[in-house]
C-alpha cells in the first residue's frame, strides 16, 4: 500500500503505524453534563464500515505526522489524505 503524504508524496505503508477511526480527533468536553457517557462512546464505540473509512495513520518511520486517510476497506483505495492537525483545526473552527 502507498499513502500519498500531503507533505512528502507517496510513501510505503510500512513507514506508518495505524491507529483507527478518525473520530478519535473529536474528543468530548470533560465538563459537559454527559461527559461520562460521551467519553465512554468516544473510547469504545467505533463504526466498522465496509467501504470508505476515515482513519488515523502515524508516519512513525518518517516525519511523525498524524494523517487522516480516507480508505475504502473493501478495496484499499485511498481517496483522500490530510494532515490530522489541519482536520482538527478545521473541526474546531466549525464547532
Amino acid at each position: 500500500m502507498l499513502i500519498d503524504h500531503p507533505l512528502l508524496g507517496p510513501r510505503d505503508a510500512s513507514e506508518f503505524v495505524y491507529l483507527g477511526d478518525a473520530s478519535l480527533i473529536d474528543r468530548p468536553d470533560w465538563q459537559a453534563d454527559d461527559a461520562a457517557r460521551a467519553f465512554h462512546d468516544y473510547a469504545y464505540l467505533r463504526d466498522n464500515p465496509a467501504g470508505p473509512h476515515r482513519e488515523l495513520w502515524f508516519h512513525e518511520g518518517g516525519d511523525r505526522s498524524w494523517l487522516v486517510v480516507t480508505r475504502d476497506t473493501t478495496t484499499h483505495e485511498i481517496t483522500d489524505v490530510r494532515l490530522a492537525r489541519d482536520v482538527a483545526l478545521e473541526r474546531r473552527r466549525s464547532s
Binding site: L24, W30, R64, S65, W66, H76, E77
Partner: protein, 997 residues
C-alpha cells in the same frame, strides 16, 4: 517442413544421451555433468534438470504424495506438480524443487524424494494398493478417536508416510535480500505479448521493467517453430531482447517471478540471483524479494495447457503435449523415441508435427473429434479416446478405444495430452477480481482487473502469436498515453493468426482412477465422492479432496475438478464457481521473505554510550526492548548472580552506586503551551510546576488505565524534559504526538525525542553528593538547600561540558541523575569510577535497580501492566479532578471504583526464610484455594539484602485496609504455599528521609 534450427557443431547431439535430439537452444558443444539419485549424467548449458534427465532416458523423477505412485514431469514449466526433487546437498539442500525449472549447472546434485528405499522400489507404494481406503476425507473419517492418538500416533505416522521432501535441518548458509524498484510500466512475462509491450513503451521513453520467470526471455516463442516476419520466432525474440537491453530506460529481469499484485501498483518480484549457480558468488544474495511500484502494469503471463483425465494418466512419460514440444524444440530432448498424442483440438497436431520433424516417431494422434484433420506424416485416430495405460515405472502401452468401439494398443514411451489452454489469470485475482467464463475458449479469462493493470496475449485469451503481438502493442500504447507519453503504433510483426476455438474435453467417460491433481493424488473418483457427500461448493470441494492445495496450487488441475463438479451438479462451470488465486504465484522460500531480517538482525540492537565500558567491567547484559542493559557486574569470587546483586544494593545504600539509565525515553517538550500540554497528558497537574523542579507524572490511557509513568523536569518556563519507561518510549512519544496534533492543534508546543542524544546516569547513595561534587564544576552549589530533592538544572561538568542534573531517586537514597551529551557518556562513566574510587563507587545493573525499587515500593512495568488504574496503584489522589487530562473522566467510572478494588501492597513472609514468587496468588489463610476465592496476586518479588528476607509487591482486594493481615500465598504452578503478612509497599525508609537528606 522448415525447422529453422541452426546446423552447426553446437547442435549435434551427444551419443551418450539416448534421447538427445539435434538442434534446440542447448549448447551441445559443452557438456555439463550432474547426478540424480547418485547416478551421473551428462547435459548441456540451456538444459533444465528435467530436460537433461529426459535426454538421458530418465522419465521417473519422483513419487506421489499419498499413494507413492511413480511420477515423471507433467510439464516443462513452473506449473509442474510431479517432478519435485531435493536439490543440492548439506545445508543448501532444498526440498520440493521443480526439476522443470532448475537450470542445469556443472556438478548439480539432486535426489528424488518421498521414496524409500529407492525411487524404483518404494515400500510405501503399498498405499496405492490400499487406495480404496485412502480416498478423499479419509483423515476425517478414520482418525477420529481416541483424540489423544492423533498427536502421538496418527499424525507422526501419516507425516512419515506422506509428505514430500525434507529440510536439511541446518542453518541456511546463504544471504537473501530485499529491494525497492520503481517504474512507469511493469511488464510481466517476456513472451511475444510482453516483449512487444516492453519494446513499444521502451521506445516511447517510459521507464520499463520486464520481469520473466524463465532464464531466457521469449516465452512460448522458444518452444515453437513459429515464423515472425520472415524468420524464426526465437530469432525475433532475441533481436527484441537485444534492443530492449540497449535502451537505458528498460530493465530486463530474467529469472524473476512476479508473485503477487498488491495494493496501489505494488508488485512482489522474486529474483533468483544465484539459483543457476552451484552456490552464490561472494557477496551476492541467493534471491532478492523486490517490491516494485509501477504506475502501470501489463500482465503477459501466457497460458497453461490443461490435461485430459483418463485411467492411469499419471505414468512417467505422460505429459502435456506442449511440454513434449518444448522439450523437443527448445531443449532437444524427448522422453521416448516413439510417442502418441491425445488431443481434443488442433494444438495437439502441432506437437505431432514438431516431433515428427525432429525425427521422433509418432505412433498415432488420438483425437476425440470425429472431424479431426488428417496428416500425411502420421496416423490420426478420429473420434478415439485413451482407455488406459500400462507400464509400472514408465509408460509402455496405451490402450485406445476407437470410434467403432474396438480397442487398439499402441506401444509408446510417451503420450502428450492436449486439452486446450487456460489463460494465466492468477495475478488479475490478487485484489478480489474474479475471472469470467469465455465460451469460445471454454476457459476463464480475466474479469475485473487491479487498478493500473492491463492484460495482453494468451493471458487475456488471445492464443495466436498475432493476437499476442497486437495486444502487447495495444496495451503498451494505452499505458503510454496514460503516462503522458503518447506514441503511435509501429507496424506489427507478421505472425500466425489461426483462429482458436477450444472444444472442452475434460475426461474420458467412465474413468475412475484418473488423476486430476497429481501432486496431491486427487482423482476423478474423489471429486465424485465429494459430490456424494455434499461437499459441492467449490471451496468445500477443494478442502475435502485437497484438490489444488499442493505447492503447484492446482495450476494444471483446478479446471478439470470444476468441470467434473459441474457435470455432477448439472451446472455450468462458471455456475460452480472458481477458486480464488492468492499470492504467491509460485512457491517462495521463507528465507526470501525474511531477507536480511534474521538472527541478530531480526531487530536492531541498541547500545548505550557506556556499553563498552560495562563490557570491560565484565557486565552480564540483558535485552530490554532493543537495548542491551547491564544486568549486574560480577566480581571475582562471586559464583551466583545474587551475590553480585546483593553487593551492588548494599554498596549503593551504604555508599554510592552508579547505574546507566540512558535507555529511559527522553522527550523534549518546548513551546509557550508546554505546561498546559503536559497538564493534559499527565493525570496529575503540571501547570504550576516551578522552573528548576521535577515532578513524578502518571499518564493514563483514555479508558482510565495507567499507561506509563516518569518524570517531567521544568528547565525553563517553556521547556520541559519528560522521561518515560524504557519499554514504552516509542509508544508514549506516539501518544504525545497524537495529543499534540489531533487533540490540541492550537497549542504552541513542539516535541522531539532526545533518548539517543543524552547519556544518563543515576548516581545514588549517601555519598552521591560527594561524588558529584568531584565532577560538577565548582560554581554549582549542590547543597541540600541550593539543590534539594526534586530539583533540576542545566549545569556544567568536568570543566564546562554542558550537562543536566536532576535530583530524583528511584532507589530511595539521596540520588541524582546526570545527563551528558551522548558522545561523552563513556568518558563520564569512566570519570565517575575514577574519581569515586576512594568512596567505593560501585556500578550497579538492572537487577540491583529492580531490588531497590521493590524495597522502595515504586511501581514499574510489572505493576503498570495494562490492567491497573491509578487507584489500584495507590495513586488515586494524583488524578486531578480540577482539570482536563487524558483518562481522568473514565477513571471515575463505576466499575473501576468498587470498594473491593485491588490496591498495591507489600508482602513479607512470616517465616523469614520463605520464598515469595511473582505470579503467586493470595488466598485467605484458612479458606479454600481456588480461583473463586482469589484475593489478589504478586507482581514483583525480590530478596531484600537490606532487610534480609524476601519482599513482594502485590495487588490485593481492599489492600489498603488490610495492613498486618496474614494470608496464604499460593502458586499452584510451582507448588508454593507460604504464609505472608500484608504491609506497606514502602519497605525501606517509608518516610523518604534519605532521598531528602
Amino acid at each position: 517442413m522448415n525447422t529453422h534450427s541452426r546446423i552447426d557443431p553446437a547442435s549435434v547431439p551427444d551419443p551418450k544421451q539416448s534421447n538427445r535430439l539435434a538442434g534446440g537452444r542447448v549448447d551441445h558443444s559443452t557438456v555439463l555433468t550432474f547426478s540424480f539419485d547418485g547416478k551421473r549424467y551428462r547435459g548441456h548449458p540451456g538444459d533444465t534438470l528435467a530436460s537433461a534427465l529426459l535426454a538421458n532416458g530418465v522419465r521417473l523423477m519422483g513419487r506421489s504424495f499419498k499413494y507413492h505412485r511413480p511420477r515423471g514431469p507433467l510439464t516443462a514449466g513452473s506449473e509442474e506438480p510431479n517432478a519435485l526433487v531435493e536439490l543440492r546437498t548439506g545445508a543448501r539442500r532444498e526440498p520440493n524443487t521443480r526439476a522443470t525449472t532448475i537450470e542445469l549447472y556443472d556438478g548439480l546434485t539432486a535426489r528424488s524424494q518421498n521414496a524409500w528405499p529407492s525411487l524404483k522400489l518404494d515400500a510405501m507404494a503399498v498405499n496405492d494398493r490400499l487406495s480404496p481406503f485412502l480416498t478423499a476425507g479419509f483423515y476425517y473419517k478414520t482418525f477420529m478417536w481416541p483424540a489423544a492418538f492423533w498427536e502421538k500416533l496418527y499424525e507422526p505416522v501419516i507425516r512419515r508416510a506422506a509428505g514430500l521432501g525434507s529440510l536439511s535441518g541446518r542453518p541456511d548458509p546463504d544471504d537473501y535480500d530485499k529491494g525497492f524498484r520503481h517504474c512507469d510500466l511493469l511488464v510481466i512475462g517476456a513472451g511475444p505479448a510482453g516483449l512487444l509491450a516492453a519494446l513499444t513503451a521502451g521506445r516511447a521513453g517510459a521507464d520499463v521493467i520486464l520481469a520473466d520467470e524463465d532464464f531466457t526471455p521469449g516465452g512460448r516463442l522458444l518452444s515453437e517453430r513459429f515464423v515472425i516476419d520472415d524468420g524464426a520466432a526465437d530469432g525475433w525474440a532475441a533481436r527484441t531482447v537485444a534492443e530492449l537491453a540497449s535502451l537505458p530506460n528498460v530493465r530486463l529481469m530474467p529469472r524473476s517471478t512476479v508473485i503477487g499484485a498488491f495494493d496501489h501498483g505494488v508488485y512482489g518480484v522474486v529474483e533468483r540471483v544465484s539459483d543457476h549457480l552451484p552456490e552464490p558468488l561472494p557477496g551476492k544474495p541467493r534471491q532478492i524479494l523486490w517490491r516494485v511500484t509501477a504506475k502501470r502494469a501489463i500482465l503477459a503471463a501466457g497460458a497453461t495447457e490443461r490435461p485430459i483425465a483418463f485411467d492411469d494418466n499419471d505414468r512417467p512419460g505422460i505429459m502435456m503435449a506442449s511440454a513434449l514440444r518444448t522439450y523437443a524444440n527448445r531443449y532437444a530432448a524427448t522422453p521416448a523415441g516413439r510417442v502418441a498424442v491425445f488431443t481434443c483440438n488442433d494444438d495437439g497436431h502441432r506437437t505431432a508435427a514438431d516431433l515428427h520433424a525432429k525425427g521422433v516417431r509418432i505412433a498415432a494422434v488420438i483425437d476425440t473429434r470425429d472431424d479431426a484433420p488428417r496428416s500425411p506424416d502420421y496416423e490420426v485416430l478420429r473420434g478415439a479416446q485413451v482407455a488406459g495405460t500400462r507400464g509400472r515405472l514408465g509408460l509402455t502401452f496405451v490402450t485406445v478405444r476407437q470410434a467403432d468401439g474396438t480397442e487398439r494398443v499402441l506401444e509408446v514411451g510417451a503420450l502428450g495430452m492436449a486439452g486446450g489452454w487456460n489463460p494465466n489469470v492468477h495475478l488479475t485475482c490478487h485484489q478480489r477480481g474474479r475471472p469470467v467464463w469465455n465460451d469460445r475458449l471454454a476457459a476463464f479469462v480475466p474479469g475485473a482487473l487491479p487498478p493500473g493493470m492491463a492484460v495482453a496475449g494468451a493471458a487475456n485469451g488471445a492464443l495466436s502469436t498475432h493476437g499476442a503481438l497486437s495486444q502487447g502493442a495495444e496495451t503498451a500504447i494505452a499505458a503510454c498515453a496514460d503516462l503522458g507519453r503518447p506514441t503511435n503504433a509501429a507496424p506489427l510483426p507478421k505472425a500466425e493468426d489461426a483462429p482458436v476455438t477450444q472444444t472442452p474435453f475434460w475426461h474420458v467417460t467412465g474413468c475412475k482412477r484418473a488423476w486430476l491433481d497429481q501432486q496431491n493424488d486427487v482423482t476423478v473418483k474423489d471429486v465424485t465422492l465429494a459430490h456424494q457427500e455434499g461437499f459441492r461448493a467449490v471451496e468445500h470441494l477443494k478442502r475435502y479432496t485437497t484438490l489444488g492445495m499442493a505447492t503447484d496450487q492446482g495450476k494444471t488441475s483446478n479446471m478439470a475438478g470444476l468441470a467434473i463438479m459441474a457435470e455432477l451438479t448439472a451446472k455450468t462451470i462458471p455456475g460452480v464457481g472458481t477458486t480464488m488465486f492468492r499470492p504467491p504465484y509460485t512457491p517462495v522460500p521463507i528465507a526470501t521473505f525474511a531477507g536480511r531480517i534474521k538472527g541478530r538482525a531480526f531487530h536492531p540492537t541498541r547500545l548505550t554510550p557506556s556499553h563498552h565500558w560495562a563490557k570491560e567491567r565484565g557486565a552480564v547484559f540483558v535485552e530490554v526492548g532493543d537495548w542491551m542493559r547491564a544486568q549486574y557486574f560480577p566480581r571475582e569470587g562471586e559464583t551466583h548472580w545474587r551475590q553480585s546483586v546483593d553487593r551492588e544494593v548494599t554498596a549503593t545504600r551504604n555508599g554510592v552506586g552508579v547505574c546507566d539509565c540512558t535507555t529511559l525515553g527522553k522527550i523534549d517538550v518546548q513551546g509557550t503551551d508546554a505546561a498546559s500540554f503536559l497538564n493534559l497528558v499527565y493525570a496529575n497537574g503540571f501547570a504550576k510546576l516551578a522552573v528548576g523542579r521535577v515532578r513524578y507524572g502518571l499518564m493514563l490511557r483514555e479508558d482510565g488505565i495507567a499507561m506509563d509513568d516518569g518524570t517531567a523536569a521544568r528547565m525553563a518556563d517553556d521547556h520541559f524534559v519528560v522521561t518515560t519507561t524504557t519499554a514504552n518510549a516509542g509508544r508514549v512519544f506516539r501518544h504525545m504526538e497524537f495529543v499534540r496534533q489531533c487533540l490540541v492543534p492550537e497549542m504552541d508546543v513542539q516535541l522531539i525525542s532526545t533518548t539517543e542524544a543524552w547519556a544518563q546516569y543515576a548516581v545514588a547513595g549517601p555519598n552521591s553528593r560527594d561524588l558529584l561534587r568531584r565532577v560538577v564544576d565548582p560554581d554549582i552549589d549542590l547543597s541540600n538547600d541550593a539543590f534539594p530533592f526534586m530539583a533540576c538544572a542545566e549545569v556544567t561538568v568536568c570543566g564546562s561540558l554542558r550537562a543536566r542534573l536532576f535530583r530524583i531517586s528511584f532507589s530511595g537514597e539521596l540520588a541524582y541523575e546526570l545527563a551528558v551529551p551522548a558522545r561523552y557518556g563513556d568518558a563520564m562513566m569512566r570519570r565517575l569510577m575514577d574519581v569515586g574510587a576512594d568512596l567505593g563507587v560501585t556500578p550497579y545493573g538492572t537487577e540491583a535497580l529492580g531490588v531497590m525499587r521493590i524495597e522502595k515500593g515504586h511501581a514499574a512495568g510489572n505493576e503498570l501492566n495494562g490492567t491497573t488504574t491509578a487507584a489500584n496503584l495507590g495513586l488515586g489522589r494524583m488524578v486531578s479532578k480540577k482539570k482536563d487530562a487524558i483518562g481522568s473522566v473514565l477513571s471515575e467510572r463505576g466499575g473501576m471504583n468498587e470498594p473491593d478494588d485491588l490496591r498495591l501492597i507489600g508482602l513479607c513472609p512470616v517465616d523469614a526464610d520463605a520464598r515469595i514468587t511473582a505470579g503467586g496468588h493470595l488466598m485467605a489463610r484458612d479458606g479454600p484455594v481456588d480461583a473463586k476465592h482469589d484475593q489478589g496476586y504478586v507482581t514483583s518479588a525480590a530478596l531484600s539484602p537490606t532487610l534480609g528476607h524476601m519482599v513482594g509487591l502485590a495487588f490485593l482486594k481492599r489492600g489498603a485496609d488490610r495492613m498486618g493481615e496474614r494470608m496464604r500465598l499460593v502458586s499452584p504452578l510451582t507448588d508454593l504455599t507460604v504464609e505472608v503478612e500484608v504491609c506497606s509497599p514502602h519497605f525501606v525508609d517509608p518516610e523518604g528521609g534519605r532521598q531528602r537528606a
